[in-house]
């Protein structure tokens, strides 16, 4: 499912639980918890303060909260993220500001 199924625009604040399938784009503000089956994109200027559970997360803006992603988390060069991330693939671009732990579920070699 690639269609954008939700946009939280610049002038809008959502507080509470957001759940569902499809891609959601946040240009405004989202506070609470997020449980999505697909992708959440936090645009630059957007701010998400929430624990999120989803497939893919792309952050260009600001984000605070813990992230559990089934596939990939991308923290772009303009992003500011505070929180713990758990995902098989995590990308942090040059210029991004991040504070927190990252767990990629790595299988350590024997003997370590």
């Amino acid at each position: 499912m690639a269609a954008t199924s939700g946009i939280i625009g610049r002038g809008t604040v959502v507080r509470g639980n957001l759940s569902g399938s499809g891609d959601v784009v946040v240009e405004g503000r989202l506070e609470g918890t997020v449980a999505l089956e697909d992708r959440l994109t936090v645009e630059s200027g957007g701010k998400v303060i929430a624990d999120v559970q989803l497939e893919n997360l792309i952050v260009h803006g600001e984000m605070g909260g813990d992230v559990v992603a089934a596939e990939r988390v991308v923290i772009s060069s303009t992003a500011k993220v505070v929180g713990d991330i758990k995902a098989p693939r995590v990308v942090i671009e040059d210029g991004a500001r991040f504070s927190g732990s990252i767990e990629m579920d790595v299988k350590l070699p024997e003997g370590i």
């Binding site: 610049r10 630059s44 200027g45």
Partner: protein, 122 residues
């Protein structure tokens, strides 16, 4: 800290869309148009227009300038300008607005308050 640069792309008719596969349990507030095709429970507080499309389901009290309902709303609606109940919508709750339109085919149960000025004195 460097000032946050706003690289946001200008979007014509900037607004917020809650798609049909999305459920929000909480509060939505803002100063731009809001289109709801999904489900919202809680509270909606807007300064602009709210469009509840036919797939939209709202269980919330609504405070806004304009509302256009084609879907389902359970809750009280207070609008500073206009409330329009389209054909095939289903609304249960009280409506307060200076202008209220109910189309043929709309299903509505509740009170309507157009703030009609009663004879002088108030």
């Amino acid at each position: 800290m460097a000032a946050m640069e706003k690289v946001s792309t200008p979007r014509s008719g900037a607004h917020t869309v809650i798609g049909s596969s999305i459920v929000i349990d909480g509060e939505i507030s803002g100063d731009e148009d809001l289109v709801i095709q999904g489900t919202v429970k809680g509270k909606i507080d807007l300064k602009e227009s709210l469009y509840v499309e036919s797939s939209g389901v709202i269980e919330a009290d609504i405070e806004t300038a304009n509302v256009e309902v084609s879907g389902q709303v359970t809750g009280n609606i207070a609008a500073s300008d206009k409330v329009e109940l389209k054909a095939d919508c289903k609304v249960v709750g009280d409506i307060r607005a200076p202008r209220i339109l109910i189309a043929d085919g709309a299903v509505f149960k509740g009170n309507v308050d157009m703030d009609v000025k009663e004879a002088k004195g108030k």
